[in-house]
Amino acid sequence: MKVSLKWLSDYVDVSGVAAEDLAERITRSGIEVDSVEERNQGVSGVVVGHVVSREQHPDADKLSVCKVDVGSGKLLQIVCGAKNVAAGQKVPVALVGANLPDGLKIKRAKLRGVESQGMICSARELGLNDRLLPKELQEGILVLPEDAAVGTDVVALLALDDQVLEFDLTPNRSDCLSMLGAAYEVAAILSRGVKLPEPGELPSTGSGRAADQVRVGITATEQCSHYAARLIEGVRIAPSPLWLQNRLMAAGVRPINNIVDITNFVMLEYGQPLHAFDADRIRGGRIDVRLAQAGERIQTLDDVERTLAPDMLVIADGERAVAIAGVMGGAATEVTAGTTRILLESARFDGGSVRKTSRRLGLRSEASLRFEKQVDAQAVIPALERAAALMCAIAGGRAADGIVEAKVGEPAPLTVNLTLARINGHLGTDLSAAEVRAIFERLHFRCELVGADGFAVHVPSRRGDITRDVDLIEEIARLYGYDNIPTSLMSGVTTPGSLTREQAVRRAIRNLLSLSGLQETTTYSFTHPSQIAEYPGLYGEARPIGLAMPMSEERSVLRTSLIPHLLDTAAYNRNRNVDDVLVFELGRVFLSDEAQPTKLPDEHWHLAVLLTGKKHSAHWSGKAEAVDFYDAKGILDKICTYLGVTDAKYTPIQPAGLHPGRSAEVAIGGGAGAGSERLGWIGQLHPALAEAKDLDATYVLEIDLGVLIRHADFHIGYRALPRYPAISRDLAVVVGRDAAVGDLLAKIKETGGDLLESVQVFDLYTGEHVGAGNKSVAFSLVYRHEGRTLTDEEVSKAHEAIVQALATTFGAQLRA
């Protein structure tokens, strides 16, 4: 909302406060003032001139030589390049020594040999927003009204000695979509009075009651609560007087003609949108406010033919819809140059209905903007009367007697009670009853004292945002000043602050992995369906959840795995010559078994890791090695160890998107067998997919943190340090290449029993020494007894049993 201070001062005294200061005070009281615009962009020394004569320049086709009277007693000779300059016009003349915007200074000059004693100005040269002017005035010089007095300073004539504050209104303060609303706000801030406009006299047509010529009815009583109209006759359509045009232009509204300008002016003044119909084009002598019929069509003022839906509110005459209520009028009843009779509408339409209609039609107007936010019920009639009086005064109209109206109920006046204790208790202030009362007075809220510290506040209808005590408390707070509210710290019981176990584990893993050399990433939750297809992740059967109105196919479904975006991350970095990508992400995936969810999807916190390229940057001490499967597995081992999970079991799988020979599902819990739960999976990205994304060998793992936490062991129990010596034995066996070392290890542990303290794989060999199709695996075993020193014989026996078991189960041969 653009608020001209000149206009505003019709209703409230703003003298003695600089525009910038006022803007700051308004902002600090709750309405952000975005900008303070000086309307005069640097114009001085420009006066109204009368073009006495215009002659062709002797040496230039496109130039005119004008004799101009500027009231100085001597005609000025001015050379002008505009096509539209003509004798008899009143024009703005920049005298020699005048200043124009952008630092332009007018000097005596010679143009093609002819002296020019000043310049006739265009609107743009005066710094006016010429988009608000009619086309013909945008192109040439600005032609001023005939009655402009010669010699008058143009700054005063065009009301450029003005500042305009741009209010950035929050949705609750639609009362300030009007100059009067702004005036009440400024009055409250400055503790000053408000002067309401006088509607003025309404000369009568003498042709009887308006109600006898037009009837008004409301059929759609839910969408319209009040419809009022006046019939004005004998108007003459013409440009508005300059003062009215100046006001509208200061507000950023384009002047059109006197009737339309008056409806806009009063809408800006009261916040009540008005509409003027050409009464002669209203058929059947009646207005009905009803819902549109299915398929009903109307051509709106913007010359677009629109088809209406049956829940859209229209204004109809005896035969057809003549306006889309609150949104836009129809072309068929538009006020045109020949219009003489006006049916002037002032109504209260339901905000929700207007909002829906305007959205659906993609048609927004200054009127719909105000109706959407609900207009003031008490402004309907005053605005109508004000506009009718202006139409009579400015456009020479006369009013048929009386208002024609239909009304559905009457909004009840609102009184809100509150107490001083409540106010101070809510704000932490120590206000007195007198201070509170003074604030209500500044707001022009009538208030009565109730009992010792109570107030009954009569909320004016213009403030529809105030419905209960806290709304009044906010009014008090903002006018008292938020800065004056003290600072305190809550009393009451102390509470322990904490993270939940899940949150603490996520944080621990985040820190663990980042300190282990991985970068944490954050990627989008929305993805492309094809990404899920090529990489279904853990949940092959899960259907991705789609957005109803995605912004793009690229981001149209919710992710079911974190991996696809990590692949994008790797590709993104590789395109920027960052080839070594060791990253992880902690984030949610979204799963549902329904195509159209009727309940909220399951959200699982996942951890995903992606490794590609080298383990670390090149170093003088040795070659930087490429990452492989066991680097990824090592990370998962580290996480499991950190979380006290010791029974992770890896089973080869061949899921889509992964290398069929280098992928495993990981299960934890329930020891080695039943009762275990799938934690996630790990593997090498399928080479075809890696190639498609221009990636080197890439390894990924993804686990469900919920599962991990369920099986984690958070208890640390000290075990006594060993008192008896350990005996180490190594064991190298040759087995078939397909034998899983994990199975060998399990067998060793099972056979070794309590005596076997630990076993490590320390060597793996394939090659000519062990024969084709075989491999040699070397284990380092440590035996120890808790209660005594083991004898060599005991150890040998146990060791031999292990050798036997491996031989029996895997055909393992002791390596010579």
Partner: protein, 337 residues
């Protein structure tokens, strides 16, 4: 013999020559050993005299030998260490160091400040019911602030949450009227914005909620002051401006003194000395009622901030998309305490 031996020992240059002399004089067939062996042939009077002399000679030789030996050992050690000299200016072997994402760094920092003030960290679903995201927050179905155009709906009733406020509602419901409620809620939120330098269709919020008997707006002010001082430095000041949120009344935007210029005015704060970083207010009685708290008994405050905005200010980041592009050259800059 004594003089001859000491003279020869004087001439030795290394351990080997020293060993040879030791054998020559003190060895089994050494000169001194020969003399001692011949003692038996001496008279009872001569024996002690010669014996004493022989022992003195022996001690003198041994003393010199061991001194020499020590000297050679030291020299040898010194040589060995000299040979082991390395270039201490060569780069160390890397112990890999990664980083926590800058948004999570900020979240963890904010969480820790509020945990220290007795808050629990609460979370809720990112896919939310319309009721929790809007209705229970005093944004009924026809409210202008909840436009279909602004939210990612999945069905009529299910959408991507547009703020973390539904977590507050869920927490109040779960608490069933118990007080105090003291939570902060970090998390991702979603809005239909085209991604550009200052907008992202997904971003991160942290909201806080306190409900108890007798909570006042001055408590909100005091709490936020304490927070910003810990977050941005003890000199930080706050300033509140009246604003509007459907779920709070009164509502306030909170500005803090610009951390770039300390309040004197700079480009970041557009010369105002202030930066807007928080929205806040007293919990709207409708919200309390709907979640089972009687607004005549209980009151509360809520506040919220954008993590991206704080991270951008804190680290001087100029484009919000950096947080989601995961350029490692960007992320690696945060591998610091």
């Amino acid at each position: 013999m004594r003089q001859a031996a000491l003279g020869e020992l004087e001439q030795t240059a290394n351990q080997q020559q020293l060993d040879e002399l030791r054998v020559k004089y003190l060895g089994k067939k050494g000169a001194l050993t020969e003399i001692l062996r011949g003692m038996g042939a001496l008279s009872a009077e001569e024996r002690p005299v010669i014996g004493q002399v022989a022992n003195e000679v022996r001690a003198a030789i041994e003393g010199v030998i061991s001194a020499k030996q020590e000297e050679y050992r030291k020299a040898e050690t010194a040589n060995k260490l000299r040979a082991e000299t390395i270039d201490v200016t060569l780069p160390g072997r890397p112990v890999p160091l990664g980083s926590v994402h800058p948004l999570n760094k900020v979240i963890q920092e904010v969480e820790d400040i509020f945990i220290g003030m007795g808050y629990q960290v609460a979370e809720g679903p990112e896919v939310e019911q319309d009721y929790y995201n809007f209705e229970a927050l005093n944004l009924p179905k026809n409210h202008p602030a909840r436009d279909m155009q602004d939210s990612f709906y999945i069905t009529e009733e299910i959408l991507m949450r547009t703020h973390t406020s539904p977590v507050q509602v869920r927490t109040m419901e779960r608490m069933k009227g118990e007080v105090p409620v003291k939570i902060i809620c970090p998390g991702k939120v979603y809005r239909r914005d085209d991604d550009d330098a200052t907008h992202s269709h997904v971003f991160t919020q942290i909201e806080g909620l306190v409900i108890d008997r007798g909570i006042r707006m001055s408590d909100l002010k005091g709490t936020l002051l304490q927070f910003v001082r810990e977050m941005f430095g003890q000199e930080t000041k706050i300033r509140m401006r009246p604003s509007f949120f459907p779920f709070t009344e009164p509502s306030a935007e909170v500005d803090v003194t610009c951390m770039m210029c300390g309040g004197s005015g700079c480009r970041t704060c557009k010369q105002s000395g202030w930066l807007e970083i928080l929205g806040s207010g007293m919990v709207h009685p409708r919200v309390l009622e709907m979640s089972g708290y009687d607004p005549n008994i209980y009151s509360g405050f809520a506040f919220g901030m954008g993590v991206e905005r704080i991270a951008m200010l804190k680290y001087g980041i100029d484009d919000i998309r950096h947080f989601y592009m995961n350029d490692l050259r960007f992320l690696r800059q945060f591998a610091r305490v």
